[in-house]
């Protein structure tokens, strides 16, 4: 089988984890989708109409709060699915989904996705694996937000972003990072300044440049490692015949540095 770089299956890890027949059943319904920066894929409480499979870029899932913009609970890139959880349950969205880094994606109607899950137990199992990983990320973030210093949290999120884009130039402004962490912009500027002096990163207008991945891991909290090992364990539970078409690449271990 020839591998086409444009084939959605080769660009999103959920689609890659599906069995061949399962993927073929979704394929005619997949349409390209543009992840423009700032675009809201859905709001908290919305009925999910489309399920998005990002190929690149970054979607932040945030819980809104009454007095400000809310806090980040999850980030989804080419490693996951946006809206899959709610679409499968035919339930309203439990958070806002906003594009933080522009990219490309595939979309599918929520009804079609739900029907495919109902008809194919294998696909439902794979979806459950990804849901479990999303839940793990949310749980880890709850712990992280409660006990870890801003410095370690910035490093952790930068590692997560770096894993999903493998580009050391992270196109996030300090305001966006502040919004993600639920802190004031000044706090991010000051803490990032300390990390800059430590040789971890440099702050530029409109982006952060990772100077040393090794130092970033050293300054990050343990949450990053915890989630990674969880992802690796979960990847082992995916049946062999459903392993992706990408040679030896396994869904989660495909993360850089894995």
């Amino acid at each position: 089988m020839t591998i086409h770089q444009d084939e959605p299956r080769n660009r999103n890890r959920f689609l890659a984890a599906l069995g061949r027949a399962e993927y073929e059943s979704l394929r005619p319904h997949l349409a390209p989708y543009d992840l423009r920066i700032g675009r809201r894929l859905h709001y908290c409480g919305d009925e999910i109409e489309e399920v998005i499979f990002p190929h690149s870029g970054l979607v932040a899932l945030m819980v809104p709060s009454r007095d400000d913009t809310g806090t980040l609970v999850l980030m989804v890139g080419c490693d996951g699915v946006v809206g899959g959880f709610a679409a499968a349950a035919n339930a309203p969205a439990t958070c806002d989904a906003e594009v933080h880094i522009a990219g490309e994606a595939s979309r599918i109607s929520a009804t079609v996705f739900r029907r495919a899950l109902d008809e194919q137990p294998g696909m439902r199992r794979t979806a459950a694996c990804f849901d479990s990983l999303m839940l793990a990320q949310a749980q880890q973030t709850a712990l992280c937000n409660a006990v870890h210093p801003v410095e370690a949290r910035i490093c952790r999120w930068l590692l997560e972003v770096h894993d999903r884009s493998s580009n050391s130039r992270v196109p996030l402004t300090q305001s966006t990072v502040a919004q993600m962490l639920g802190v004031r912009r000044t706090t991010v500027t000051l803490v990032a300044g300390r990390l800059e002096l430590a040789g971890v990163l440099t702050c530029r207008r409109g982006f952060l440049q990772i100077q040393s991945r090794e130092k970033l891991e050293q300054y990050s909290c343990s949450c990053y490692g915890q989630l990674r090992s969880h992802a690796v364990r979960l990847a082992e539970t995916i049946p062999v015949e459903a392993q992706p078409a990408l040679g030896s690449t396994t869904i989660f271990a495909a993360l850089p540095g894995g």
Partner: protein
């Protein structure tokens, strides 16, 4: 609306937020600075007791100097004398760290100046700061 900028004194040469924020008045700036200081020190209070946040109004000031130990809520249970001791100790520790930092910068600068005068290569900048302060950019 005045613009307030901030400098974190953490024992290094200081980290500035030059962008700053527009706030109604000094009281607003004070409240904002306390929130920022608490966010910065959360989870690393012991280390941060030596730090201070300076607040400037329209580039003038500082109009406030907030020692972190004085606003750390995890010290609220202490008697005022004990707390003051921690604040004073933090201040002295920070001054010592700043002195060490400045001495190191002087050593680097001296080395660079000697090398420059002999026409040898030298370290022009360290962590984004020029090794040789002031004066000409290069000897040409």
């Amino acid at each position: 609306m005045p613009r307030y900028t901030f400098t974190l004194r953490d024992g290094s040469l200081g980290i500035e937020d030059r962008t700053g924020v527009d706030l109604n008045d000094a009281q607003g700036a004070f409240d904002y600075a306390i929130s920022v200081a608490r966010e910065v020190m959360r989870g690393c209070e012991a280390e941060a007791h030596a730090w201070r946040l300076d607040v400037y109004e329209d580039d003038a000031g500082p109009i406030f100097e907030l020692p972190f130990a004085a606003i750390d809520q995890s010290l609220d249970h202490l008697v005022p004398e004990l707390r003051q001791m921690i604040v004073d100790f933090g201040e002295r520790r920070r001054l010592l760290m700043e002195t060490v930092h400045a001495a190191r910068a002087t050593v680097l600068e001296t080395r660079a100046l000697v090398a420059q005068s002999r026409g040898k290569p030298y370290l022009a900048s360290f962590l984004g700061k020029r090794t040789i302060s002031g004066g000409r950019a290069s000897s040409s």
